[in-house]
């Protein structure tokens, strides 16, 4: 085969392979939308499940996921932003900093089920919170830290050095500079990372299995020490454990979860592009 023919053949093969990679993604989303859209209605989103969960809605699971999203944000935000500020503004290029970065990389790589075990051992049992929103939020919050830290650090580093030097030369202290000059300009980038992390946390099942999730609760949680239902676990349960579960409700639940997660990711992307457009430098 001539070189030209090899080239053409290779181009065809490569394009085909890329199609094999991308088309199933479109198929997955389309399939879930196609099969799930029939189940979506105002009632589905606002009612509780009935008749052994084969009828009614998924409201408690939606509320539970929203609660966990807030809880994750509350736990993850302060610690992650502080860590990012430390890395960007205070850390020297020494061994300690290398260890910190190693720790962050590893936190990002720990399997989600191991986070579940940690949450069980540390928060549910050792600290005695029991299976509760607190335990679940702490577990998810720690799991989200790497993403928020790295995006926040990049956002902080992205603020031009002039902002800092001018501020310091005008007499502000280091912290004042950070608080009034650096952080406000880095905030959109930090928010992007946070929302991205929350999107991932909202879709996770393994960390909440033994720390907060419940199969069926007769009413919404009353305090942060209660269990709650949550969408990922709910989908798992109705897909594998409830007899006579209409497929449309299963797809509908998957669709709602998908929409929540993807809209969070989309929001993060929008914040990021808005920020780039409005940037003052």
């Amino acid at each position: 085969m001539s070189r030209q023919q090899t080239h053409r053949l290779a181009m065809i093969v490569i394009t085909l392979v890329a199609a094999i990679a991308v088309i199933p993604i479109v198929f997955v989303i389309g399939y879930v939308v196609w099969n799930g859209i029939s189940a979506i209605s105002w009632a589905f989103l606002t009612e509780a499940p009935r008749t052994g969960m084969t009828e009614g809605g998924i409201m408690p699971a939606i509320v539970g996921t929203v609660i966990l999203i807030f809880g994750t944000a509350i736990v993850s935000m302060p610690l992650s932003i502080a860590t990012a500020v430390y890395l960007a503004e205070y850390a020297h290029d020494n061994r300690l900093t290398r260890y910190i970065r190693l720790a962050i990389v590893n936190l990002a790589g720990i399997p989600s089920i191991v986070y579940g075990l940690f949450g069980l051992g540390a928060f549910v049992l050792f600290m005695g919170f029991g299976t509760s929103i607190v335990a679940g939020s702490l577990t998810l919050g720690i799991m989200t830290m790497p993403v928020v830290i790295s995006t926040a650090e990049e956002a902080i580093l992205g603020v031009p050095q002039q902002f800092r030097t001018v501020s310091l030369s005008l007499g502000a202290t280091r912290w004042q500079t950070i608080r009034y000059q650096v952080l406000p300009h880095a905030l959109p980038g930090i928010l992007t990372g946070l929302i991205l992390g929350l999107g991932r946390a909202a879709g996770e099942t393994a960390p909440i299995l033994f720390t907060v999730a419940a199969f069926y609760l007769p009413e919404l949680p009353g305090s942060v020490f209660d269990q709650t239902m949550a969408l990922p676990y709910h989908l798992y349960v109705i897909a594998t454990q409830v007899p006579g579960m209409p497929l449309s409700i299963q797809y509908g639940t998957a669709l709602v979860l998908l929409l929540i997660v993807l809209s969070l990711t989309l929001t993060a992307t929008i914040v990021r592009t808005q920020m780039r457009r409005r940037r003052e430098w």
Binding site: Q4, A10, T15, V17, A18, A21, V22, I25, I29, V32, A82, T83, V85, Y90, L96, Y99, I100, R101, L102, A103, V105, N106, L107, A108, G109, I110, P111, S112, I113, V114, Y115, G116, L117, F118, L120, G121, A122, M143, P146, V147, E154, G171, T173, Q176, R200, G203, E204, T205, A206, L209, P232, L235, Y236, A239, L247, Q250, L257, V261, L262, T265
Partner: protein, 315 residues
């Protein structure tokens, strides 16, 4: 005596900051404490895993712990089938995802027209965002019956798990490969084309070899992602604590991964029992494996410090 009166000393920065010094010092200490917090947290995780998992290593003789059968209700705690299960699913996933991902990255970076790239890249980003439970659900409802119709004795097999895991690792592999390809200097391509190579020859013999180290990182992170996945494999691999005999059809046998074992059995164990300890011991094994992979990958990336490696093998 009249001393030449100086004007009062100008308020220096030191004077002003004295009043805010305490508050500032506290805040800065908190920030420094936060900085070390990640190390503290990782140590804490390892500590808790050890605390609950070490008894398993102490009470079960190693020969038994690595025995060929996992049947906890009869006191048989052999981890071998679980290790094999995780290994098979991971190897299968990497074998599928690596060529798929690298070639797609080549397509995106070297061949696709710009407008197509702008469409395809967000689509791949979306894949990264799909929760694993949704993919597992589709695997159970759509993929498993498909695999069975293709002739497998059952649709719940290592192959089904590998396929889903491969797609879950794709975004990571594609973006790292893309970065690696992008980093190859334009001169390499120009030089090759100038001496008459076709685009394909340029890609295959010049660009890809230059990007090799980046692709190694892609493999490692893909492996890390695949080994750690729980829900998707739990729904499609059949969860049989089985060591398939070496044969061409071995990937079409059901298997049981370490992650699925923990998820399936943790709810049932009473605290402090040997079964409980052994599940945490599996957690230790998973932690050590992911630590090893991520440390090596992290070191390979080194100073470049791209965003990818900090997201690691993802969640």
């Amino acid at each position: 005596m009249a001393v030449a009166k100086e004007s009062p000393p100008a308020r220096t920065r030191a004077d002003e900051t004295h009043s805010v010094n305490w508050g500032e010092a506290i805040i800065e200490t908190l920030i420094k404490a936060a900085g070390i917090s990640t190390i503290f947290i990782i140590a804490l995780i390892f500590f808790f895993l050890l605390r609950e998992g070490i008894p398993a290593f102490l009470d079960i003789p190693l020969r038994q712990l690595f025995g060929p059968r996992w049947y906890p209700i009869e006191g048989i705690y052999g981890l071998l089938p679980l290790l094999v299960g995780s290994l098979m699913v991971t190897v299968g996933a990497v074998v599928i995802a690596l060529p798929l991902g690298i070639i797609t990255a080549i397509y995106l970076g070297e061949i696709a027209p710009l407008w197509l790239r702008e469409i395809l890249k967000p689509i791949i980003e979306i894949l990264a965002g799909i929760p694993s439970i949704v993919l597992g659900f589709l695997g159970w409802v759509v993929l498993a019956p498909l695999v069975q119709n293709l002739g497998a004795p059952t649709g719940l097999t290592a192959f089904t798990g590998s396929l889903i895991l491969a797609y879950m690792s794709l975004p990571t592999i594609i973006s790292i490969s893309e970065d690696a390809l992008y980093a190859v200097p334009k001169e390499y391509r120009d030089g090759a084309l100038a001496i008459g190579a076709t685009q394909w020859q340029t890609i295959w013999r010049v660009v890809v070899p230059a990007a090799r180290s980046g692709m190694v990182i892609a493999i490692m992170l893909g492996i890390g992602r695949a080994i750690g996945e729980t829900m998707a494999v739990m729904m499609v691999t059949g969860n049989a604590s089985n060591i398939p005999p070496l044969s061409p059809g071995m990937f079409f046998q059901p298997v049981r991964t370490m992650t699925a074992t923990i998820a399936a059995e943790m709810g049932e164990v009473a605290q402090g029992t040997l079964h409980y300890n052994t599940l945490f011991a599996i957690g230790i094994v998973l932690f050590v494996i992911s630590f090893a992979i991520n440390s090596v990958a992290g070191r390979l990336v080194g100073v470049k410090g791209t965003r990818r490696e900090r997201h690691g093998a993802q969640l």
